[in-house]
Subunit: 334 residues, 2 copies
Amino acid sequence: PPSQLPDGWSALPASAEPPGEVPASNDLTELGKQLFFEPRISLTGTVSCNSCHNVMEGGDDGRTTSMGVLGRTGTRNSPTVWNAAFMPTQFWDGRAVTLEEQAGGPMLASPEMGMSSHDLVVSRLRLVPGYVEAFRKTFGGDDPVSIENTTKAIAAFERTLITPGSRYDRYAAGETSALTQQEARGMQHFEQVGCASCHAAPLFGGEFNEFPTMADDLFVQRHRLTEDRGRELATGDEADRYRFKTPTLRNITLTAPYLHNGSAATLEETVRLMGAVQLGEDLDDAQVADLVAFLGSLEGPFPEIAIPHLPSRAGESILPAGDPESETGAAPRP
Amino acid sequence: PPSQLPDGWSALPASAEPPGEVPASNDLTELGKQLFFEPRISLTGTVSCNSCHNVMEGGDDGRTTSMGVLGRTGTRNSPTVWNAAFMPTQFWDGRAVTLEEQAGGPMLASPEMGMSSHDLVVSRLRLVPGYVEAFRKTFGGDDPVSIENTTKAIAAFERTLITPGSRYDRYAAGETSALTQQEARGMQHFEQVGCASCHAAPLFGGEFNEFPTMADDLFVQRHRLTEDRGRELATGDEADRYRFKTPTLRNITLTAPYLHNGSAATLEETVRLMGAVQLGEDLDDAQVADLVAFLGSLEGPFPEIAIPHLPSRAGESILPAGDPESETGAAPRP
Ligand code: HEC
Ligand code: HEC
Ligand code: HEC
Ligand code: HEC
Ligand SMILES: [Ca+2]
Ligand SMILES: [Ca+2]
Ligand SMILES: [Ca+2]
Ligand SMILES: [Mg+2]
């Protein structure tokens, strides 16, 4: 590694390993891609994983808080799916461990895909001969279309959503001209100011940390940082109050707005807030500019993805006709 | 052409010609693809052209009537964008002539993309350096990001959304084994029963026709076929009451539910209804089955499409924060 790379920093691995012994196969990831882009497994047939995690862009939705079926919104900002495969846990509060475990959640979340049960998801998929065939080919067995296999496939596709080879990674691999002087300076600040103590290379995130650390900072009130109790909601443990999973900073230039509640509009403001709220540091303009420049070197490149062909039931939609709320027994909008 | 091909029938052309002298270029269609998949030019940042015209599937949304921003619905079923490029007019009532003219509509339609003005669409695009650059490269000039250029690009992309080479087309080109016996039988019925008089090859649709023709048929009430006055809404001319643009039957197996109001759940039912309501014919089960089989031969193939990379404003979303309705001055939901 080049001499200027801070001690212990490294490049992103070129692949994300699946847990356990299930090997990723083309059939599996291809099916997972179909399901990731499949709006028909939402209440109204209009919302897919890609709606909130748009892999045509930063793997997010650009909104303050996400919007799912029927214009419903939740309280949290959509994290990027790019490189989620490298995350030790999932969600802002880490309440799911694996991608497989995570993927079942949004289908049932009222302000996301809004389905009333996993059985309903599976029963829609079973109506499509092309899906039944793809599940059979991928998983075998008598009853291959199940929620477990659905989430396995989605997770396998998500493991392809990784972005090694950013300019930072090329720098870390020895290509010293890959970073501008300003970016390299920002990299040094990032280590020296203390950002890297929570956002460690190569993912620049992934572990739990207290947030906010400086509870009386002015930013805390302005950004309503004590409304969401973070990991306490996942564990029930008061010691986890205001602890959050530290987000990856890869592709961070593409995933505004920032913070778990989307309350920080710009990256510049967020960097300044982090200095103040997490480190008690009042960063000066030049430091902020250098840090933001460095963060830009963590962008992409994104793999080429062919749009999937989503199979159909010939001559009949798999969506129920009429009012989706009454058709499926889902709760009315609060 | 093989001897069994009905007189005057032909295969779909291999390309769709742009109007006027504007030649399609790679830059133009690539930009149009980005814009077709771009949800950030909708009120809430959640709805793109592809939301209702999903080219990963039949170019439609599988819903009875479409659903746009904030769960709003309109009164009409989403027609496929596949082969819309070959249509002499656009919309069920033909109120737009060209694809260019059509493409400006949905951005402002309250139950579609819900934007308050084209200026707002353009102003969002101008915030993205990658878009400004792409418009400049494609159109040149001092002020290339305009609504005219936006719709030109979208239309150019739509002209790539065509599906020549279906099994029917191969049959029409002389490959007699491309159709099964049942499908070939259905093709003969289609000509002899009279379907082809309105749904003429090679598009199997495109012209205006009265609907329903038999106003007192039982189907008319059951499917509420006199609620929408059709082309009269576009022209203001009473003579156009209950005249509709005849939809293409290409990929019809993939675009259930059917009719302008989505009131017909299955293709089989729709064929039966067409016989009764348009021709005064009570088709028997075997005829219906043959016709449905023939219609299946009009499926695909779809071209391979790489997902576009949607450019971003670095470090800041182009979507307004907070409540979209109050932020943009759009009318509240009725
Ligand atoms: C309507 C919006 C919406 C939809 C649809 C949606 N998500 Fe999410 N996703 C979110 C939000 C918001 C969070 C953060 C929630 C939290 O932390 O409580 C999230 C979190 C995640 C995470 C965790 C990432 C991390 O780093 O912690 C993954 C992975 C993910 N979603 C994948 C998916 C998949 C797969 C689907 C489809 C099955 C999906 N999402 C559907 C909005 C959505
Ligand atoms: C004590 C741990 C800690 C330190 C030090 C720290 N961060 Fe963070 N950072 C976090 C946590 C936790 C979050 C998630 C905050 C939340 O839940 O909204 C975060 C969020 C961010 C975000 C927003 C990410 C997103 O997707 O919304 C950015 C950008 C960021 N940090 C950059 C920095 C920079 C630059 C520094 C140094 C100036 C820094 N951080 C220092 C823990 C830390
Ligand atoms: C929320 C749903 C929705 C969105 C978003 C939407 N459309 Fe449509 N589209 C429809 C419906 C419904 C119709 C039929 C409306 C009518 O006839 O009155 C239609 C009609 C069309 C037609 C006419 C096809 C034909 O054969 O007559 C084309 C072409 C089209 N849309 C392209 C687009 C483009 C391009 C965009 C994005 C700029 C877009 N649509 C956005 C629902 C939508
Ligand atoms: C007199 C003209 C006419 C004749 C004859 C006719 N159609 Fe149609 N067809 C139409 C029109 C107009 C529509 C659009 C109806 C609407 O507005 O909902 C239509 C719609 C359809 C649809 C639904 C398309 C969609 O996307 O929803 C199918 C399928 C269809 N016709 C098949 C047939 C078949 C099969 C026959 C012969 C049995 C036939 N049609 C005869 C004019 C005709
Ligand atoms: Ca974000
Ligand atoms: Ca469809
Ligand atoms: Ca339809
Ligand atoms: Mg983004």
